[in-house]
């Protein structure tokens, strides 16, 4: 009798791990991320409470679970650029926003990124851009990374452009970029080189100012 009960309990014990896994999966999908309090976010970013409220309402409406994963992000970004293929650039952008590198953007990441882009100092914006370009986060932008990014941007343009994309336009663009940025011609661009080169670039400084008021 005891043996029977024993075998029965053993069986249930064996079954439980798999059921737990299923339960875990269920939990993971339904869990909600809540951002920190409004006050803390206000302290950490450059937004006012009102702006944070408006941002969060929009964010929560789109992502009731409180996180954006990469697929959703790509889908959203693709709707802004229906002419071309925005998935690669969206991927890099996603990684740039996902500072914690866990494959999902929470509201905090979202709002911190926006704070830098919209309300940050020039240096912060340039640093953010540098991190966007630096795909493998090693502190240097090399040619391959730059080519990837530039190709992704040109992909967004789509096929039908004027003038038509002939030859390896992205590559030429990358070469021009390195010409400008790589001061010591060592084949990589460091953060300092990048910041200095950008500050010297008149057109870029003018353009930066235009993006102040995007909110």
């Amino acid at each position: 009798m005891g043996a029977v009960v024993g075998t029965l309990t053993m069986q249930t014990k064996q079954r439980r791990p798999s059921r737990d896994k299923a339960d875990d999966e269920l939990e993971m999908t339904t869990v909600c991320h809540r951002p920190e309090g409004l006050d803390q976010l206000e302290a950490q970013t450059n937004f006012t409470k009102q702006e944070l409220q408006i941002l969060y309402r929009g964010f929560k409406n789109e992502c009731p679970s409180g996180v954006v994963n990469e697929e959703t992000f790509k889908h959203i970004y693709a709707q802004f650029f229906p002419h071309g293929d925005a998935s690669m650039y969206a991927h890099y952008l996603f990684n740039a926003f996902d500072t914690t590198n866990n494959g999902s953007i929470k509201f905090k990441d979202f709002v911190m990124g926006l704070s830098i882009l919209l309300r940050g100092t020039l240096r912060e914006k340039l640093e953010w851009t540098f991190h966007l370009y630096d795909i493998n986060r090693d502190g240097y932008i090399n040619r391959d990374e730059m080519t990837e990014i530039v190709r992704a941007i040109y992909d967004m343009m789509g096929k039908y452009t004027y003038p038509a994309l002939k030859g390896d336009v992205p590559q030429q663009h990358v070469d021009a970029f390195f010409q400008k940025m790589d001061k010591n011609k060592d084949g990589v661009v460091t953060l300092e080189e990048f910041v200095i080169a950008c500050q010297e670039d008149e057109t870029m400084m003018r353009s930066m100012q235009l993006f102040e008021n995007v909110m």
């Binding site: 408006i54 309402r57 802004f80 229906p82 452009t161 970029f177 995007v214």
Partner: protein
């Protein structure tokens, strides 16, 4: 999901900072955003039920009543709220649409009431979410069919004949609707009577009558009164032949008539008589002749013209033909299995009636249908066991067809309708997506054209577009500046490829070439700008931007103002004209009108244009400007 797109737009624009180091040119100026950033709560009073929502929520769909300035008409100053004298229950669903981006159809509501509410609030029913779309369409179809049936029933019987119908048409109508005239009714009943007479005659002539004097054997009445029956048969056949010939004469489409089921039945009903007349009284062929007389029983099917019920039954069986066929097949399988088993079970016994497997078929069928004649009975124990299994399974198998036919009738019927609907919807869906994509391209190219021109002159026009559109276009413009390439559409692109490859500037092969006369003259001096102008124009008039990926776009509110082409010299003059005309643009909520050539069917009527080609409003010397409002909502 326009809400989603609108929410993320600031994010996408902020991320455009990432393009700046790569940009070869300066970024364009962003549009001025005058709207206050702070959100406010609006009060909407619908027949006493107060709803509150953020203003932003309602602004998500600017081409609906609540999202546009149209709601100001309903604003009540005293109570500081928007008052609508409509159904509050329905309004709940409408408001949920704004909140969630999905429109649901409440199943307990009348479909017409729902449609009216949607029309009032300026919402296109096509955006009903997938979860409720099928139900909505089914109900709507049902409603329309019912209305159509009612009107048809009213019309069909009482409609007066068109005044100049030929006698042929009148005859056909008399045949199809016997109630229209007295003559037709009389004819209808006469044929019915003769069908009955014929059928009864066929039946009665086989009944044994008292034998004539001198003979002992019973004689079937047919042989006793041979002449009488022959006369009756002749009369019936004459009537039927006459009727058939009349129908054939009156039929609007003779081939179609001859192929129809009823005419085949008619022919089969009268053929035996004529064949019998023609055939000699030969003993050899009399066997075949007797078989032919069997076909006379098909005259009973002629009653289906007189009976609606028979027709429905026939249609049911026809529509369930595949199901019945499968049933028959499975029955045959079962019969073969059991017959084989019974045969081998009973093989050994002496005097067994199961002489062969085909002989066992009869036993199996009789047992499975629980008839049990008892002419073949198993004797061995194994035979009895299998026999009982056979009869039990027979009960199950035979009991299947009845509910199958009943349920299949509605299922198969609806299924067919749905498959066709799906196919049509899919085509419409793809077409709509293509149109929306093209609309975006057009809107953006239009925006660029405005940009190129003197920015002051377009200030008035500019404010007629939504803030969202402005910002989106600005974003696309930034991308162009970054890469130093411009967006065009497929037609222009292939066009330019052609011209470049050929090596000289040809006049366009499209139908616009006739109107580009002035254009062509000026290409010599400013080739690049001329090309861009051409690109613009073609963009506004071309059909499709075909993209491989079927990306689903949200509701894009895209307004294009079609600018007629201008000659180089009159550019300045035209700028003034444009300023004047901007004020005349008027809104219509939720219409879909696309300036496309006839390849795509335009949904709404376009404003009349002087150009010969519908939808392409180009005139080199146009004095009247027409504005197209393109609103595209796609699922």
């Amino acid at each position: 999901m326009a809400a989603g797109v609108a929410t993320w737009l600031p994010f996408a624009r902020a991320a455009a900072v990432g393009w700046l180091p790569l940009a070869k040119k300066t970024m364009p100026k962003p549009p001025v955003d005058n709207s206050s950033r702070s959100d406010e709560i609006l009060y909407v009073n619908v027949s006493g039920v107060r709803f509150q929502t953020w203003k932003n929520t309602l602004d998500r769909y600017p081409e609906t009543l609540l999202g546009s300035s149209e709601k100001e008409f309903f604003y009540n100053e005293d109570t500081q709220e928007y008052f609508f004298d409509r159904d509050p229950e329905m309004f709940r669903h409408i408001l949920n649409f704004y909140r969630t981006g999905k429109l649901h159809y409440p199943r307990n509501e009348c479909i017409q009431a729902f449609d009216e509410e949607l029309a009032f609030y300026g919402i296109v029913p096509e955006i009903i979410g997938d979860c409720c779309m099928e139900e909505y369409r089914d109900r709507k179809k049902e409603n329309q069919e019912r209305l159509a049936e009612d009107t048809e029933a009213n019309e069909a019987s009482d409609a007066p004949l068109p005044p100049h119908s030929t006698s042929r048409e009148r005859l056909w109508r008399a045949f199809e609707n016997p109630h229209t005239s007295t003559m037709a009714l009389v004819f209808y009943y006469v044929t019915g009577f003769f069908i009955a007479v014929s059928v009864i005659a066929n039946v009665v002539e086989t009944v044994p009558c008292r034998p004539p004097k001198g003979s002992v054997k019973d004689l079937p009445c047919g042989e006793k009164y041979q002449l009488a029956f022959f006369c009756m048969d002749t009369a019936c056949v004459l009537i039927f032949t006459f009727e058939y010939l009349m129908r054939l004469f009156a039929a609007p489409s003779r081939c179609k008539f001859m192929r129809s089921v009823m005419s085949v039945i008619d022919v089969v009903a009268i053929m035996p008589y004529y064949i019998g007349l023609v055939m000699p009284e030969n003993e050899d062929v009399s066997g075949a002749f007797v078989t032919l007389r069997v076909f006379r029983v098909f005259r009973i099917f002629k009653f289906s013209r007189h009976s609606q019920g028979l027709r429905i039954l026939g249609y049911t069986l026809k529509s369930c033909a595949s199901e019945l066929g499968f049933l028959l097949f499975s029955l045959t399988m079962a019969i073969i299995i059991f017959a084989t088993v019974m045969f081998y079970a009973e093989k050994g016994t002496k005097g067994s009636t199961f002489t062969s497997i085909p002989a066992s078929f009869w036993y199996t069928i009789v047992t499975m249908t629980t008839l049990g004649y008892g002419d073949m009975v198993p004797n061995t124990i194994a035979g009895k066991i299998f026999g009982s299994i056979c009869s039990l399974s027979g009960v199950l198998v035979i009991a299947l067809p009845v509910p199958v036919i009943v349920s299949n009738f509605s299922r198969i019927y609806h299924q067919n309708q749905r498959a066709d609907k799906m196919r049509a919807q899919q085509k419409v869906r793809l077409a709509r997506i293509r149109m929306a994509k093209k609309g975006t391209t057009n809107a953006f190219l239009q925006y660029k054209e405005d940009r190129d021109r003197d920015s002051d002159s377009t200030a008035l026009c500019v404010k007629n577009r939504s803030a969202f559109e402005h910002q989106h276009h600005h974003l696309l413009h930034c991308l162009e500046k970054t890469t130093n390439h411009e967006f065009t559409d497929e037609m222009t692109y292939s066009e330019l490829c052609m011209t470049e490859s050929v090596g000289f500037r040809t006049s366009r092969s499209t139908s616009l070439s006739s109107q580009q006369g002035a254009q062509n003259n000026s290409t010599g001096c400013c080739p690049r700008r001329a090309r861009r102008r051409a690109a613009m124009r073609l963009a506004n008039s071309t059909v499709s931007v075909s993209r491989g990926s079927v990306q689903e776009l949200d509701m894009l509110h895209v307004k294009t103002t079609s600018i007629p082409p201008q000659t180089r010299s009159s550019l300045n003059a035209q700028a003034d004209d444009l300023k004047l005309n901007c004020g005349e643009q008027d809104f219509t909520a939720a219409i879909i009108s696309i300036p496309t050539p006839p390849a795509n069917t335009p949904d709404e009527s376009l404003p009349p244009s002087p150009a010969p080609i519908p939808g392409i409003l180009r005139n080199t010397r146009a004095t009247a400007y027409t504005h197209d409002t393109v609103k595209i909502s796609s699922l």
